[in-house]
Symmetry: C2
Subunit: 109 residues, 2 copies
């Protein structure tokens, strides 16, 4: 069994436009880990999906909207999104989020 | 809908002995995010479980053993563990891991 490792230095980020880029760091059908990088002012538009999501703030500052409520978070803070809850974010200081999903977001592949 | 946020500054880490401490940052039956802190030299003994696991290295350096193979990782590196694969770690430089599980590790609650 070979360990399945993605080195941060080797991670290839896909530009999504508007100052946002994304890299899938680990993936199986039941669990996916994704790093998303934001430039200051970049926006992740409000959206929803049936996948469970946890988001850990690696760097920077973000204002999230979750179910219509605003919350500002920074490094080391964690958000949990239940299924189908509308959520979005605005990046207040350039940074990165670690998003994990169950099941995997097949639309990211 | 109130956003479910755990502030890093408020996270309460439970000492597990041997220089390891743990805090569950987000939890639902289908998805759990856990930060585990290690002092230098601390060991997470080889074990296995049926839960899917991804591990992101937040800080420090670690030597993992996965399915009998050794791999050394540092900040920004990600490991993916399939179900039931024996894995363990030794901390080479004090740091922290972000472990995510699906389903949740009920034994952590």
């Amino acid at each position: 069994m070979r360990a399945d490792v993605v080195r941060g230095a080797d991670a290839r980020f896909i530009p999504l436009g508007g100052g946002v880029s994304r890299c899938v760091l680990a993936n199986s059908p039941g669990l996916m880990t994704v790093e998303v990088r934001f430039e200051e002012g970049a926006v992740g538009a409000v959206h929803s999906h049936p996948h469970l999501q946890n988001t850990y703030v690696l760097r920077g500052r973000f204002r999230f909207t979750v179910g219509g409520e605003a919350v500002e978070v920074g490094p080391g803070d964690t958000l949990a999104f239940p299924e189908d809850v509308p959520h979005g974010t605005e990046c207040l200081e350039a940074g990165a989020l670690l998003d994990v999903f169950s099941p995997a977001r097949a639309d990211f592949l």
